[in-house]
């Protein structure tokens, strides 16, 4: 006895609903985050800070086969995933990183992305005991670091 009274949804309805959701995410989340990131990079470029950051982070980022300035991608992604992605796109546009560098960093951007937001949205909502927060943050950073090694290996194949 499987009676459904809801009006029948078609494949087309499903696609349109998803695409509409995609439009909403693009307008409300992606575009503002990209703008934040591009302006941040513009500030770093105009002040000359990007060169300084590049030099400071070169030893660390070099381990993953990345230029020092790529550290800004990871720092921004910690605050907001879209921000990290935007910084990567902006650095690519200015020729400071290339496609290989981006490929290496994409999983890391996600794995350590938006942790401050997700602390509330995931750990808070799920009522996770506060005492595990440091471990959970540490796991995200470990994931991100290991993923960059793995991606470095994959892009070299």
């Amino acid at each position: 006895m499987d009676k459904k009274v809801t009006p029948k949804k078609t494949v087309v309805d499903a696609f349109v609903e998803g695409a509409r959701n995609g439009f909403g995410i693009s307008a409300n989340s992606m575009a503002p985050n990209v703008m934040f990131a591009f302006v941040l990079i513009q500030i770093l470029n105009l002040t000359g800070l990007s060169d300084i950051l590049g030099v400071i982070f070169q030893p660390v980022m070099g381990i993953f086969g990345l230029p020092g300035v790529a550290a800004t991608v990871l720092i921004a992604s910690f605050l907001s995933m879209g921000g990290g992605v935007g910084v990567a796109a902006s650095l690519y546009s200015s020729g400071l990183i290339n496609g290989t560098h981006i490929s290496i960093m994409i999983p890391a951007i996600m794995l350590m992305g938006a942790l401050l937001q997700y602390m509330g949205r995931i750990l808070g909502t799920a009522n996770v005991d506060n005492k595990y927060y440091p471990q959970l943050f540490a796991i995200c950073f470990i994931n991100a670091i290991l993923s960059m090694f793995v991606m470095r290996l994959i892009v070299s194949l």
């Binding site: 499903a14 575009a31 750990l123």
Partner: protein, 219 residues
């Protein structure tokens, strides 16, 4: 009229759900990107297509932007033009995901995943639905996890392991196809590869938490 919510092992998948799942994976994997013949159409990048070119220039006549974003932009205005180039990719990708969901593709993934949860992460099969939901939406996943724990379906330890899975790379699928879509054009690997790496490391993270809880917090 007793209708139970299908959860865990009881999930019902229409037969074509599995086919849809396989097609969806192939669709985003990029295996058909450079294919000759009609199978070319079974590829995300090919269907996403291209923006029109602005025109052509004789050799040595300067440079021409490849699309309406232009070249040499910077700051907030360049961000705006760049963001505009991403709308179609994100809308298209999330539309496809919704179709896959509508055709039971995600349920098929859940069904296939359920028996693997215990060996992979030490989670009970009933977590399957929550896991699939958490890949689509960080908020949905977290609130469903909370419900599972409150109703006593999973233990406190299992909840913390599951939280580690969800916390690293939350809302994976949706975030990857929306935020990271900005980088698809620059990547040197197929679209599916970084996504697979993220999911693999989410499982690694859950196991780090599992090891931690087993060894360090043994009471």
């Amino acid at each position: 009229m007793k209708e139970r919510k299908s959860e865990g092992n009881e999930v019902k998948v229409r037969w074509y759900g599995y086919i849809v799942l396989v097609i969806a994976i192939l669709f985003f994997s990029g295996v058909f990107t450079a294919f000759e013949g009609p199978l070319k159409a079974l590829d995300f990048t090919n269907l996403a297509g291209d923006f029109g070119k602005l025109g052509t220039l004789e050799e040595g006549a300067g440079s021409l932007a490849s699309n309406f974003r232009g070249t040499g932009g910077a700051g907030a205005k360049d961000a705006w033009m760049f963001a505009m180039t991403l709308f179609p990719t994100v809308m298209f990708a999330l539309g496809v995901v919704k179709v896959v969901e509508y055709l039971d593709g995600l349920k098929a993934a859940q069904k296939l995943l359920t028996p693997l949860l215990r060996p992979l992460m030490g989670l009970p099969g009933i977590s399957g639905l929550t896991l699939i939901a958490s890949l689509q939406s960080a908020d949905a996943g977290a609130s469903m996890l909370n419900t599972l724990a409150e109703e006593g379906e999973i233990t406190e330890k299992e909840k913390n392991i599951f939280a580690a899975f969800q916390f690293s790379g939350g809302g994976t699928l949706t975030n990857y196809l929306s935020s990271c879509a900005a980088l698809f054009a620059f990547m040197t690997v197929p679209i599916l590869v970084p996504l697979a790496v993220v999911i693999a490391f989410k499982i690694v993270g859950a196991n780090l938490m599992r090891i931690y809880l087993n060894k360090v917090c043994k009471q």
